[in-house]
Symmetry: C2
Subunit: 391 residues, 2 copies
């Protein structure tokens, strides 16, 4: 079992805090924005009349499944029945389950690189080999021609797995790109596992195009979703898996039964969150656009740094003028500070499968408000200057 690449610098960060150094966490996608009050109020209301907190159905409360379908997915143009949605213990369980449904030990899944690092963690656990389609930071992480996917197909290929918007690159897949990948999946009889947990964080004026709406791909698509980011409820640990494919849903139910049920207080919060007004999402989106614009501008002002412009999620990948971004990230935590403050970033190499790819890159999460973000990136710039000059 490999260590979490995102979390393995945590001991150094803890040590810095223990020395009295304030650490700006640009390393994790842990938003600081207020959860919708309707979500929290729903938990309180349920608690008031609660006798005992029993198990729910393994697939989640039926009222939650129905409400998700009617109040959220219908509104955004994803047309499903409640039995095509199963509540999971956050997006983590949803994609872990989707990968196990799609592939057996020894099978292969094609991923678009860079990708969320825990895809590799679970692939390792389940004996699944990830085969990477590379994309290029200098080209906005655009999806290459489908012939690049074709090259990777073997008789063990079972699925394509991607996140849209993409963590870590901020890449937003166009309708054309999604349809091309969908057609590829249909032609080779592959599942398309589409992780859309950042759906509400898109910064173009186009609506998000879900894999669920690729024509003719109904039996191939497994959608992974979560309330963590959408409602700033990361700790609720509620997500879902969605598919029109009945065999997929039957398999998901078997996995769900093995862990009995999803967290019930979190299900209450998710139910309440469905009444979140559109104005909440609009405000949050504007806030992230401000943060993104600030982060990308300031990063690109640092000599030798190239930060790509993300069109979704709340991350950017930045090339740094260093050989090994992990060494630099460690140095920032253990040897550098400015006025007792330092900045933590995530080295990007673990988001890549191709050997050595991304070694000089870092993922920057723009999850602080603008004044803090400015200070954090200014400190990063100073650190980088000193690091580079002494090497």
């Amino acid at each position: 079992m490999p260590s979490s690449a995102i979390r393995k610098l945590v001991p150094l960060s803890d040590a810095a805090s223990a020395r009295g150094v304030k650490v700006y966490h640009l390393n994790v996608g842990a938003p600081d924005i207020k959860s919708p009050s309707c979500a929290i109020d729903a938990v309180v209301d349920r608690c008031k009349s609660l006798h005992h907190l029993s198990y729910t159905n393994s697939a989640g409360l039926i009222e939650l499944r129905k409400a998700m379908v009617e109040k959220y997915y219908r509104k955004i143009g994803i047309d499903i029945a409640p039995e095509e949605l199963l509540v999971e213990v956050a997006g983590s369980e949803a994609f872990s389950c989707a990968m196990q449904i799609a592939a057996d030990r020894g099978d292969e899944i094609i991923v678009v690189e860079p990708f969320y690092t825990n895809y590799q963690t679970f692939a390792y656990l389940y004996g699944i080999t990830l085969k990477a389609v590379p994309t290029d930071i200098r080209n906005g992480f655009a999806i290459p021609d489908i012939s690049e996917f074709e090259k990777l197909v073997t008789d063990r290929t079972r699925a394509v797995l991607l996140s849209n918007p993409c963590n870590p690159s901020g890449k937003l897949f166009t309708k054309e790109e999604m349809c091309a990948i969908g057609e590829f999946c249909r032609r080779h009889d592959l599942f398309l596992i589409s992780d859309e947990v950042y759906r509400e964080f898109c910064y173009t004026n186009e609506p998000h195009f879900s894999a669920m709406n690729i024509p003719g791909c109904e039996q191939n698509v497994i959608l992974v979703d979560s309330v963590s980011k959408r409602y700033n409820l990361c700790g609720a640990r509620i997500g879902c898996i969605i598919s029109h494919n009945r065999e997929v849903m039957a398999a998901a139910m078997k996995f769900a039964q093995s862990r009995l049920c999803p967290p019930v207080f979190g299900q209450y919060a998710a139910l309440g969150a469905l009444d979140t007004p559109q104005s909440y999402f609009d405000e949050v989106r504007q806030e992230y656009i401000r943060r993104r614009d600030c982060a990308v501008r300031l990063l690109n002002e640092i000599p030798g740094v190239y930060a790509s412009m993300p069109y979704g999620a709340f991350y950017t990948i930045a090339e740094l003028p260093v050989e090994n971004a992990e060494d630099f990230a460690k140095w920032m935590l253990s040897e550098f500070s400015r006025d007792s403050r330092t900045t933590m970033i995530t080295p990007a190499e673990s988001f890549y499968k191709t050997p050595h790819a991304g070694r000089n890159q870092a993922r920057i999460a723009y999850v602080l408000d603008v004044p803090e973000l400015e200070d954090a990136i200014s400190i990063l710039a100073d650190g980088l200057k000193q690091y580079v000059s002494t090497r």
Copy 2:
């Protein structure tokens, strides 16, 4: 992936309900007893001052880990440090994680049979072979001589796995039995995975003897625990894994990081639950003793039925005068009712690894109050009489 044996009759039960038949659920260990108000109040209090529900440390809130150690484990004589306890997504994740830590694909784990059916589910998923030490219902499921364990040892054996008190048998392991198994584990350098989620449900006057207190076994024992049953908080999905073995805890942390964090509202409830007064446990225990005595007496009054006396948990295994208890359980749901009521039980075969063992047995959960329990077992008796007479 096999279906959950406990939950696979659910569609028949749902169909019976849809026909207007009330189903008494003696099939699942879902207690109906009030959760401690301090647990629910803690959630409400936290909600009142909550800005946003963020991730916690993957190992759980440090204040929860400290409070569990100080307010619960110390009190019951289990002496651990907070870093020897990691918060899990209920007992399910805790034993799933313990099994993966102890054994690789192709390895073997010795289980005491009958055993909780999801041990087999996860063993299947992880490519682990369970080897069963049989126990006998007519002998109170007593642990056989250690030579029966010795017979099963191969060079792939990695652990012994048991639940104490035992789900499904209600067997309560004595200090002598636990020490003998511990000595066996030490001798063969095996882990001892001790699932003690029913610890507060013991009906002898002896204190529960935890595997954590087997002398000399400190590096072998992995304790699995949960708040589900202890505080009637099944839906909170909070449990923990405990070990003095640092390598075990480091591995558990890697698994924990892959799913980011345990449910946070549930962690709040677990924190509040630690203030539950002893009187709560005493009352609950007395209630279960009443239910147990009622269930075992009434079951043994049914011609041809033999129900064993459980000394812990809230299940009894009953031998029925049928060839196949699963067929009978299905018949009770689909073809029998009395005054629009029927009784659901769990066929016991899936609690056994030995082929055909337990086929004429059922697990009865005494989780209803005495009047309902009486009615449910009376209906079971009538059903059994009719079923037997027509075969």
